[in-house]
């Protein structure tokens, strides 16, 4: 005998009664599942471990405690030395970054508009991408002398290739339909580039900007460390180098903290913000 399953129909009104589809989570539950909270916990544990280990070995020449480091940071900030160093580093960085971007825009335009330009871009990127920018510093010092221009040259070199490579790839990957939509609306020439291609390729361009920034920042600190430039105009790298020579290790640690903090600030705050109002809102890219 077949198993009996009666047909059924339930009035739609009764189904609609269950209105509460989403229940908000309690504060504890929310904290427990928040990455930010656990990162804070990790930071606190690290800080405690640092302080504990520093006190235990009790040797501020090798490993100053967190307290000593923070004090050195405070002292260097109040005396005005550290802000001056930070300013010097950022000024060089921004100058180099801007020049690098302008050059990348030029290169990408050339690559977009001709086969020769494309060949030039792909060959040059293939050549210079594996070459650490710092390796060019001895030459740069020879050409531009000891000081800002040499560092800017090296930063430009570290930004230019990654940004133009990414931007070029991004333009190439723009959906053909979107291009046609632009033309269909009668948008042609440079307006087509500015109104359609650039926003459509923006995820790739932004990722190029991020990589370029990361290269530039590391290159700058490394270059400042190796070649102190002149002490008057030196940056954070120079601050670290100088204090190591004076065996003020707490200040060395303070300098490293500043390098980390600025890196985090720009990557985690500025670029995050740009991502949030662009590619995240548009639902493209990552």
């Amino acid at each position: 005998m077949p198993y009996d399953r009666p047909e059924r129909e339930i009035p739609a009104v009764r189904l609609a009664e269950i209105a509460d589809l989403a229940t908000p989570l309690g504060p504890v539950e929310r904290l427990r599942t928040s990455l930010g909270f656990w990162r804070l916990v990790v930071l606190v544990v690290l800080a405690l471990a640092w302080e504990g280990y520093g006190r235990w070995i009790d040797n501020d020449l090798l490993f100053p405690t967190l307290g000593e480091t923070l004090y050195a940071l405070w002292a260097a900030t109040v005396s005005g030395v550290l802000p001056m160093r930070i300013f010097a580093s950022l000024r060089l960085l921004i100058t180099g970054y801007a020049i690098g971007l302008a050059a990348a825009a030029l290169f990408t335009t050339l690559a977009m508009s001709s086969l020769v330009g494309r060949a030039a871009l792909s060959t040059l990127t293939a050549m210079f991408n594996p070459l650490p920018a710092v390796a060019l510093l001895p030459l740069a010092l020879l050409w531009f002398g000891l000081g800002g221009p040499s560092l800017i040259f090296v930063i430009v070199h570290s930004v230019l290739w990654s940004v133009s490579l990414n931007a070029y790839a991004g333009f190439g990957a723009v959906n053909q339909t979107l291009r046609m939509v632009g033309w269909n609306l009668g948008i042609r020439g440079w307006r087509h580039v500015a109104l359609i291609l650039v926003p459509a390729a923006f995820p790739a361009i932004l990722s190029g900007l991020k990589i370029g920034w990361a290269f530039a920042w590391r290159t700058l600190i490394a270059a400042e460390l190796v070649f102190g430039v002149s002490s008057r105009s030196g940056g954070i790298g120079w601050f670290i180098y100088e204090n190591r020579n004076q065996l003020d290790i707490a200040s060395v640690f303070a300098g490293l903290l500043v390098v980390i903090a600025i890196g985090l600030l720009i990557e985690g705050l500025i670029f995050r913000l740009i991502e949030r109002v662009t590619i995240q809102r548009w639902g493209v890219g990552v």
């Binding site: 339909t177 979107l178 939509v181 609306l185 926003p199 923006f202 548009w282 639902g283």
Partner: protein, 257 residues
Amino acid sequence: MAVSTPLLSVDAVTLQYRVPGRLVTAVHDVSFELLTGDRFVILGPSGCGKSSLLKAIAGFGMPSAGSFRLNGVPITRPGPDRMMVFQDLDQLLPWQTVAGNVVSALRRAAGLSRVEAERRAAAMIGRVGLAKFAGAYPHTLSGGMKQRAALARALALRPAMLLMDEPFAALDALTRSTMQRELLDLCLDMELTVLFVTHSVEEALLIGTRILVLSAHPGQVRAEFQGLGPDASPAAKDHLKQRIETLIMAGSLPHAV
């Protein structure tokens, strides 16, 4: 309607495109005339060059022989008088909202002021049933809504003819039949002239007032039929469907690809 000249005349058009090492003929010696008020359907199997033909009429690429004339004037480049709705669900600018897409199209292509563009955009977005989603970004919309928004953008520009390249092919069956019916309503309401490309015989019969059947590899005109009205008998519809299906089957048999 007393129309003495066709809105669009396609005269002995051959389309070819280059692939590495070869020149491929997509469409060979195709001619037809489209009148104002037509819902002209180009029907054919995949690979018959119907999409290439539509894109060439839109002005993307020139024919290697023959000519396209819009109101007697040769078509040389794309323009907002022939707005296209693509099959691709990603045809809205993702960095603009639904309203932003329509408004910017009106401002760029029709040169309207912001106020006027916003007014016309809102009306058109309401007309396709997206009023609640005017402020939404495209990635938050379903496939059907995206196509509605693309349709609103195209219609807001009041093109001389609307070009549709299998606009519902990427949608699920239920959404597709809803959209077909809504398009038909819009066409009757706004007295649109549409050039519609599809591989579905049902869709062609439902939408078309005139049906051009192309054969495959390369696309050549196989037949041209007058469409059936909505009040035609099921028997008449079945009969026409059979005739078209036979034509398409016969065309695809000898060429084993």
